[in-house]
C-alpha cells in the first residue's frame, strides 16, 4: 500500500461546549489537490489548524493526523515547530494583514529558511529572491526590501505563498487563499498554486467556500457542514451525482441568479453623470505645497434610468469606489456634472434633501456599524437627512418595517450588531439604506465578503426589494458573475475609464474589450454539464 501524504483519522476538536470539528477523516495523496468546501463556521479552517497544531488556546483535539505516515498529534511543540513551515506550509485568507507590517518581504521569506536550516542571512536572502521570483515577484519589479503595505493584495498573497513553499513542503494548506482577491488576481493565484503542485510532488489542501473555485482545480473534494464531512469524493463525480442535499444547495448557490424583473425603461434618467473627473492627492504634502495628484476617475459619463439595475465592474484600484463616493457627494469632482433627478450633486454643503435620495451599502458588514449602538439607532440614522422625519412610535414603526422588509424580525431592533452573522448584518445595512425610501441605492461590493450561500440569499432579497420598493441600483463589484446575476446592464471600468458597457448577456457572452474578455475568462466556473442533473 502506498503511503498517504496526509491522513486525518476521526479528528474531533472541542472548545468548551462547542464541537467545531466532528469525526473528520480524509486522505490526501502525494501530488494531489484536495478541496475542502463549506460555509463559514463549517469547521474547515479548524480542521487545518488542528493539523498544524495551531488551534486557539483551550481547544482540545482527538484522533490522528498522519503526515507521510508520521502521527503529528504525537509530536511535542518543539518537534511541531520543525514540521510547520518545513514539511507543511500554510497560507491564509487575509493577505492584507497576514504579513508583518514592519518587516521587509525579503526578510519574511528568508526567515523560513533561517529558522529551519540555520542559513546565514545572505544565503537565505539569495534563496528568498529565487522563491519570490518563482511566485511572480521578480526582484527587478518588486525588491526584497519592500514592505507589505507597498504591495497589492495579490502580490502579498504571492509573498505568503513564497514563504510557505520556500522549503518545498510536502503539503501546502491554503485556507480561502483567494476569497479576498479580485477575480483576475484570484485566477493568477490559483494558477500559481496548481503550477507549484505540478512541479514537484507537493500536495495541496485547498479550503474554500466557493465550489466553483475547486471545479477546475482539485481532484477530490470533501464538503463540510456543522463540523461534519457530509459528502466527499472525486470532484467530477461529486458535482455530477452528489447525494447530499447540502452539496446541492452549495452548488446552486455558486452560480445563483435571482429572477429578474422586466426592465422598465424610464424616459429621463434618474442618475446622470457627465464627463466626470475625480482626483485625489497621493503624495505627502511638502510644507505648504500640494503632493502629487492621481486621477482616479477620468471622464466618466453614465446614465441610470429609474427602476434600472446597473452593474459597475472592475478590479481594485480602477476607480469604481471613488466614482461611487463622488456620486454620493462625499468627494468633490474636479470637473463634470452629476444630477440625481432634478438636483445637482455638488458634494460638500449640498442640501440634505439631495443626500436623502441616495444610500449606500458597503462591503464590510463588520466595520460599517458602530458596535455600541443598538440596531434601532443604526437603522434610524439616515432620518437626520429628512426634515419631517418620524419620531417616537412612528420612527420605531418605520425601523420595524425596514427590518421586516429585509427578512429580519422587528424585535432585532433592540439588539447590538455583534449578535448577528455577516449575512444578517448585511441585511441590516440594507434596512438602513431602505428606511428613508431613497431613489437610488449604491451597493459597493455589498456581497463580496459573504459565503456563496448567503450571497445567493442577499441577491434574492435585493431583487425582491427592487420590485416591491421600486428601487434603482448601482451595483459595484469586481466579480462579473455576481454583477451579471443582479443587473440589467453592466459597465466595465479600468484605470478610471469605462471601457465597455451594454446589456448583461451581451457583455458576458460577447465581451468586446480585451479587459472584459480577461474578466470573463478569469471567473471560476463549474462546467455546465456537471450540474445538468439539477435541471431535470
Amino acid at each position: 500500500m502506498t503511503m498517504r501524504r496526509l491522513e486525518i483519522d476521526r479528528l474531533n476538536v472541542q472548545i468548551g461546549d462547542v464541537h467545531p470539528v466532528r469525526d473528520v477523516s480524509l486522505a490526501i495523496e502525494p501530488g494531489q489537490i484536495f478541496g475542502i468546501a463549506g460555509e463559514s463556521g463549517s469547521g474547515k479552517s479548524m480542521t487545518a489548524l488542528a493539523v498544524m497544531g495551531l488551534l486557539p488556546g483551550g481547544a482540545a483535539r482527538t484522533g490522528a493526523a498522519r503526515l507521510d505516515g508520521q502521527d503529528l498529534f504525537a509530536l511535542d511543540e518543539a518537534a511541531m515547530c520543525g514540521v510547520r513551515g518545513q514539511r507543511i506550509g500554510m497560507i491564509f485568507q487575509e493577505p492584507m494583514t497576514a504579513l508583518n507590517p514592519v518587516r521587509t518581504i525579503g526578510s519574511q521569506v528568508a526567515e523560513t529558511l533561517i529558522i529551519h536550516q540555520g542559513m546565514s542571512r545572505a544565503d537565505a536572502a539569495e534563496i528568498a529572491a529565487t522563491k519570490l521570483d518563482r511566485v511572480g515577484l521578480a526582484a527587478g519589479r518588486v525588491g526584497l526590501d519592500r514592505y507589505p503595505h507597498e504591495l497589492s493584495g495579490g502580490q502579498r498573497q504571492r509573498v505568503m505563498i513564497a514563504q510557505a513553499i520556500a522549503l518545498q513542503p510536502a503539503l501546502l494548506i491554503a485556507d480561502e487563499p483567494t476569497t479576498a482577491l479580485d477575480v483576475t488576481t484570484q485566477a493568477g493565484i490559483l494558477d500559481l498554486m496548481s503550477g507549484l503542485v505540478e512541479e514537484g510532488d507537493m500536495s495541496l489542501m485547498l479550503i474554500t467556500h466557493d465550489l466553483a473555485v475547486l471545479a477546475g482545480l482539485s481532484s477530490a473534494i470533501a464538503v463540510m457542514k456543522g463540523g461534519w464531512i457530509v459528502e466527499s469524493g472525486a470532484t467530477e463525480t461529486l458535482f455530477r451525482s452528489h447525494r447530499h442535499a447540502y452539496t446541492g444547495r452549495l452548488l446552486a448557490a455558486s452560480g445563483h441568479a435571482p429572477a429578474r424583473p422586466a426592465v422598465r425603461p424610464a424616459a429621463t434618467p434618474l442618475l446622470d453623470v457627465e464627463n466626470l473627473h475625480v482626483g485625489y492627492q497621493t503624495g505627502r504634502p511638502v510644507l505648504f505645497g500640494k503632493g502629487a495628484m492621481t486621477e482616479a476617475v477620468r471622464g466618466v459619463s453614465l446614465a441610470i434610468g429609474a427602476g434600472e439595475s446597473v452593474g459597475l465592474v472592475g478590479e481594485s484600484g480602477c476607480g469604481k469606489s471613488t466614482l461611487a463616493r463622488t456620486i454620493l457627494g462625499l468627494q468633490a469632482a474636479r470637473s463634470g456634472s452629476i444630477r440625481l433627478g432634478d438636483d445637482a450633486v455638488t458634494g460638500g454643503a449640498m442640501p440634505a434633501r439631495v443626500r436623502a435620495g441616495m444610500q449606500i451599502v458597503f462591503q464590510d458588514p463588520y466595520g460599517s456599524f458602530n458596535p455600541r449602538h443598538r440596531v434601532a439607532r443604526l437603522v434610524a440614522e439616515p432620518f437626520h437627512l429628512i426634515e419631517d422625519a418620524p419620531v417616537g412610535a412612528a420612527r420605531d414603526k418605520a425601523v420595524a418595517e425596514a427590518l421586516e422588509a429585509v427578512g429580519m424580525a422587528a424585535s432585532d431592533a433592540g439588539k447590538y450588531i455583534h449578535e448577528f452573522s455577516g449575512g444578517q448584518r448585511q441585511r441590516i445595512a440594507i434596512a438602513r439604506a431602505l428606511v428613508i425610501r431613497p431613489k437610488l441605492i449604491i451597493l459597493d461590493e455589498a456581497v463580496s465578503a459573504l459565503d456563496v450561500s448567503i450571497r445567493a440569499q442577499i441577491l434574492d432579497l435585493l431583487a425582491a426589494l427592487r420590485d416591491s420598493h421600486g428601487l434603482t441600483y448601482l451595483f459595484i463589484s469586481h466579480d462579473l458573475g455576481v454583477v451579471g446575476a443582479i443587473t440589467d446592464r453592466v459597465m466595465v471600468m479600468k484605470d478610471g475609464v469605462i471601457v465597455e458597457q451594454g446589456p448583461v448577456a451581451d457583455v458576458l457572452e460577447r465581451p468586446d474589450h480585451p479587459y472584459t474578455r480577461e474578466l470573463v475568462a478569469a471567473r471560476p466556473q463549474i462546467p455546465p454539464e456537471w450540474t445538468a442533473r439539477d435541471d431535470r
Binding site: M52, L54, E77, A78, C81, G82, V83, R84, G85, Q86, G89, M90, F92, E94, T97, A98, L99, N100, P101, V102, R103, E111, T112, I115, H116, Y147, H149, E150, M160, Q163, A164, T282, G283, R284, V286, L287, G291
Partner: protein
C-alpha cells in the same frame, strides 16, 4: 525618510512659535505687577516706574514679545526679579539636576516596564500575569512621595546606603551626584514603570491577536521567537507615545519628589517663581519645558518612522 524628518522639523518649528505666543499672552494676562509686588504696597509710583524700566517691562506687548524671543535665541533669558541673576544661569543650574533625574527615571522605567509587560502578556491569565497586574496596580495607586519616604527610611536611614536628600553638585564628582539622584529616580520611575508595563502588556496582547502572528507560527517559529521577532517591534509603537509623554512629565513634574529629597530642580524653581511673581523666570522655564516636550515629541515621531515603515513613505 528624509522628507518625513523634514516635515516633522517644520511641525516642530511651527509648534514652538505658537507655544511662545500662547505663553507670552498668558503671562501678560496674569494679574499683579512684578515691580509693585517687589517694592511693597507703599512704594512711590515713580520708584515703581523706574523698576519697571529696569526690569524691561516697558514698551508695547509686540515689542516685548520680540525682545523676549530675540533674547532667548541669543541665550539671554532676562534677569530674575527676585534672584537678581540671569535666568539662563538659574535654569542651567537647575537643569543640571532635573535633566539627569528625568533621564535616569525614564531609563529605569523603560528597562523595567518592557520586559515585565512582555512577560505578563506571554503568560496571559496565568499567575505571572496576575502578579504583574496586581503589583502595577499598586505601583500606580501608591503616591510617589510616600514611596519616596519609604525608600528614604529603608535605604538612607536603616541601611545608610544613600543620603536622605540634597545634591552635592556635579563639580563634586559624577558618582556622588548620580548616587544622590538614585533614590529620587527610583521613586519617580516606579509609577511610570507600572503604567508603561500595563500599556506594554495590552499592546503585546493586541499584536498577538494579529494575523501575521499566526503566519509566523505557521512558518515554524516557536512561541518565544514569535514574541521577540514579530510581536515586540509592533507592540513598541504605541509604547513609544507613552514614553514620550512620560519624559515630558518627568522633567517638570518632579516637584514633589524634589521637595522630598531637597533637590534644587526645575520644578521647585517654577514653584518659587510663581509664588513670588517672578514672571520672567516662569515665562522662561515654561518656554523651556514646552521646547523640551516638543523636542521629545519630535524624537518620538522620528522613532515612529524607524519602527513603522508605513509612516516613512513618500
Amino acid at each position: 525618510m528624509l522628507s518625513y524628518i523634514l516635515s516633522r522639523l517644520v511641525a516642530l518649528a511651527l509648534s514652538l512659535v505658537v507655544a511662545s505666543l500662547v505663553i507670552f499672552v498668558m503671562i501678560e494676562m496674569v494679574p499683579g505687577d512684578p515691580a509693585s509686588f517687589m517694592l511693597g504696597l507703599n512704594a512711590a509710583p515713580d520708584t515703581v516706574a523706574a523698576l519697571r524700566a529696569e526690569l524691561g517691562l516697558g514698551g508695547s506687548p509686540p515689542e516685548r514679545y520680540l525682545r523676549w524671543i530675540g533674547g532667548m535665541l541669543q541665550g539671554d533669558f532676562g534677569t530674575s526679579y527676585t534672584y537678581r541673576t540671569p535666568v539662563a544661569e538659574l535654569v542651567t543650574a537647575r537643569l543640571a539636576v532635573s535633566l539627569p533625574l528625568a533621564v535616569m527615571a525614564l531609563l529605569l522605567s523603560t528597562l523595567i516596564a518592557i520586559p515585565v509587560g512582555l512577560y505578563a502578556a506571554s503568560r496571559r491569565g496565568g499567575p505571572g500575569d496576575w502578579s504583574v497586574m496586581g503589583l502595577t496596580q499598586l505601583g500606580i495607586a501608591v503616591p510617589n512621595f510616600w514611596f519616596a519616604m519609604i525608600l528614604v527610611v529603608i535605604f538612607a536611614i536603616q541601611l545608610r546606603w544613600f543620603s536622605a536628600g540634597g545634591f552635592p553638585g556635579w563639580d563634586q564628582g559624577v558618582w556622588p551626584s548620580l548616587k544622590a539622584l538614585t533614590l529620587p529616580a527610583v521613586a519617580l520611575a516606579l509609577p511610570q514603570a507600572s503604567i508603561l508595563a500595563r500599556v506594554m502588556r495590552s499592546s503585546v496582547l493586541e499584536v498577538l491577536g494579529q494575523d501575521y502572528i499566526r503566519t509566523a507560527r505557521a512558518k515554524g517559529l516557536s512561541r518565544r521567537r514569535t514574541l521577540t521577532d514579530h510581536a515586540l517591534r509592533n507592540a513598541l509603537i504605541p509604547v513609544l507615545t507613552i514614553i514620550g509623554l512620560q519624559f515630558s512629565f518627568l522633567i517638570a513634574g518632579a516637584i514633589i519628589i524634589e521637595n522630598v529629597f531637597f533637590l534644587p530642580g526645575l520644578g521647585r524653581l517654577v514653584f518659587q517663581g510663581i509664588t513670588q511673581r517672578d514672571l520672567i523666570v516662569v515665562e522662561s522655564v515654561v518656554m523651556l519645558l514646552v521646547f523640551a516636550v516638543i523636542l521629545v515629541n519630535f524624537l518620538v515621531d522620528i522613532a515612529y518612522g524607524f519602527a513603522d515603515p508605513r509612516l516613512r513613505r513618500r
